[in-house]
Symmetry: C2
Subunit: 435 residues, 2 copies
């Protein structure tokens, strides 16, 4: 009967959110919610388990074969824990496509699961803000999503010295690959993948990948020139590209909205070559020690096609909670959190517990967050220690004389200020001490 | 390559939360959070996946063998999707037992999974508010949890005509079983189970279960008398019971706090006979057509024992989101929800899009929730239709003349009221129309 005690550790690669961590998580998520809702985005959610087939076709092979948490349920259905939110979004939009007024502006903060080797910034589960606008073909949907992305980080006090958005357009890359370089489909895939890896490898290794993709010297020179080009120079390389025009328009609008300092053109941004069809972007941390993509997104053209309905274009991005927290920590931008409880109502002795509980009830009714001491202590000091340990800034104590007078004594722990007041005056006095 | 289209339905027994459902879910959860935080309860969360062993020992056999979503991960660890939150709570408290100031007041709103046959009010996943206080042996912790439970429902406008709390004490049941009836352990189990089922079966079937448990006529008569007794009558049946005294004290305190109309003694409340050790309670809907337990809880004595540390007594309850929603619906107490977006900024023509986007940006900065029209329409009426379909109460439109004057026209759709105003005056005007 006597087993060895169970481990208190959470499952590998996952996190326990103790109250302090949870308070931070909620503060971050609520601020994200607040920002996206000012743009009219509405929150949705779907179940953590989805039919396996939902991921089998569209999600990358690496995720499905190596990282998906999938199993067979007791009714012999193959199911999976969601590794990303987009398939659920697509399923839900397809289910009600005809009844949803356009454009569809939706967001979600799902918990997502992938079987990964846990390491800094990479866990087996995380939470991810997903913001998507579906319906408009107009390029200005991109503008709106970029505004949202910028406002999300600005809401925490970040500015253009902390992050930047690098923007590219798939049609521009396509012009380079198809019209200028005239690559065949296999070459396009290989060159796209090489560009995606370029940041993490040496220039020689990059060149080698291009050679392997059967690019000749002149093509390689053009690729190199393209990857270092600004928009003017790109206009020389791919003068006919529809993507170029769209990018120029987008940057004009960003400038008109006062956001040009946050945004730059970057021909190296690739992101899921098969998946995105228009604008693609990545948000980069500008901190030299943390220079990496925080999150990104782009335009996709046929999100709900696998459900057989109409094609609905969309643009979206996803931002992970671990990445966001790291970013804010790096720049000293984590929000400061208020104390969970504001008032501890002490217990002078067992005879006075009813008035103490009534007092706490009345303070709560006045909107305060109040804890009661539930067991008398020999020394009153013990109760002040509890307040101190719990970080409760104010203790209210009612002895027999005070009770007889209809009063209580309020002590503000940080300042040591102590004051006797009539019960009816307590809420105002406490609010004043908290301010 | 051409597969038949995928189903748009969610996995059986689960729910999609489209924006309207999600808005309600968030409104309910946020109100619950608000109430429990006035008592100093802090939110925590743990991972959706836990080691299988966490449930193997303490969770009921029915759940583990028939309802648990468990599988083996890619690293050959047996894991389970949490069917209840208490084991996670116990694990987390045990992990930091020495560093957590007492009493521990924690709550969580986890998503929980059980493989059940889906039916009304019973799904394969639900969300459940869990409220627990750990540490105090004092009976007044019960009082506090009952206050919390009552305030949770009162926060939605429910009162004593809508629900009641039925309270019992395990020590009282034990006195009956051990001292008065002198049952052996098998009989105790069988009689407890019979009492638990009593509501759902005929009096004859109930009597038959007691006979099967080898109770003789006199014992059966005593049980029947006990099950119909009030506290005074119980004092005659079990005069020596420690549970009786505790219940009497509890009801005195409830009366002092003005809560007696919500609470009654009920000797029939059993709840997990093996699990609870002290006070047990269930919240009942008083609606005649919906007369059933909404949620319940009680005192347990050794929550964290299976992790090998100190014993920590606790009291807790769990309230499911489906049940809560049904209760509020039955009584017409569902909260009315504000419109997601407050303002639609129209687009007069493509030339005026920059000022329209700037206007929307400025309204957002003033705290309003604002959507933009991103594509010009031939007829302006189309844009008003969008506002109508999306339930956006106000449309702001800026034509070329208005733009030249630094003005815009505001239309309140419900009243038809229309007014031209300077851009700087728009936020105040809109707030006034929304109020």
């Amino acid at each position: 009967m006597k087993d060895s005690p169970l481990s208190t550790q959470p499952y590998k690669g996952t996190r326990d959110f103790f109250p302090e961590d949870m308070q931070l998580r909620s503060a971050l998520f609520n601020r994200l919610r607040q920002v996206v809702s000012t743009y009219g985005y509405q929150e949705y959610d779907g179940p953590m388990l989805e039919p396996f087939e939902l991921y089998a076709s569209k999600t990358s092979d690496e995720i499905v074969n190596e990282q998906l948490y999938s199993f067979t349920d007791r009714g012999d259905r193959k199911v999976a824990m969601r590794p990303e939110m987009t398939p659920t979004l697509a399923r839900m939009v397809a289910a009600k496509a005809n009844n949803l007024p356009r454009p569809i502006r939706w967001f979600s903060i799902p918990n997502l699961w992938r079987y990964e080797r846990p390491q800094k910034g990479r866990l087996r589960e995380h939470w991810q803000l997903n913001v998507d606008i579906l319906g408009p073909a107009a390029q200005d949907a991109e503008l709106e999503l970029l505004q949202v992305a910028i406002d999300l980080l600005r809401a925490f006090g970040a500015n253009e010295t902390h992050f930047e958005i690098q923007i590219n357009h798939r049609e521009l890359t396509n012009s380079l690959f198809n019209e200028v370089l005239q690559l065949n489909p296999e070459q396009r895939q290989a060159v796209a993948r090489a560009i995606d890896k370029r940041d993490k490898i040496t220039p020689e290794a990059f060149r080698e990948l291009l050679v392997k993709a059967a690019c000749h010297d002149e093509q390689i020179a053009t690729i190199e020139r393209f990857l270092h080009a600004d928009l003017n120079e790109v206009a020389n390389i791919c003068p006919e590209s529809s993507g170029l025009l769209k990018l120029q328009t987008l940057f004009e609008l960003l400038t008109a909205l006062g956001l040009s300092a946050y945004c730059s053109f970057s021909p190296t941004i690739m992101r899921g070559f098969d998946y995105y069809t228009g604008t693609v972007f990545e948000i980069y941390d500008r901190a030299p020690e943390n220079r990496r993509a925080l999150f990104g997104g782009g335009r996709y053209d046929n999100l709900v096609g696998m459900f057989g309905g109409e094609k609905i274009p969309g643009i979206g991005f996803g931002m992970g909670d671990v990445t966001l927290r790291d970013f804010l920590e790096t720049h000293g931008l984590l929000p400061t959190l208020p104390p969970a409880s504001q008032v501890l109502v002490g217990l002078f002795n067992a005879d006075l517990k009813i008035p103490a509980y009534q007092l706490a009830r009345d303070l709560r009714a006045a909107g305060l967050r109040v804890e009661n001491i539930l067991e008398p202590t020999k020394k009153m000091g013990k109760q002040f220690e509890v307040a101190d340990k719990k970080g409760i800034p104010i203790v209210v104590m009612m002895g027999p004389d005070e009770h007889a007078e209809g009063c209580a004594t309020v002590k503000h722990l940080a300042s040591g200020h102590q004051e006797k007041a009539a019960l009816g005056d307590l809420p105002a006095l406490i609010q004043q001490l908290l301010a």
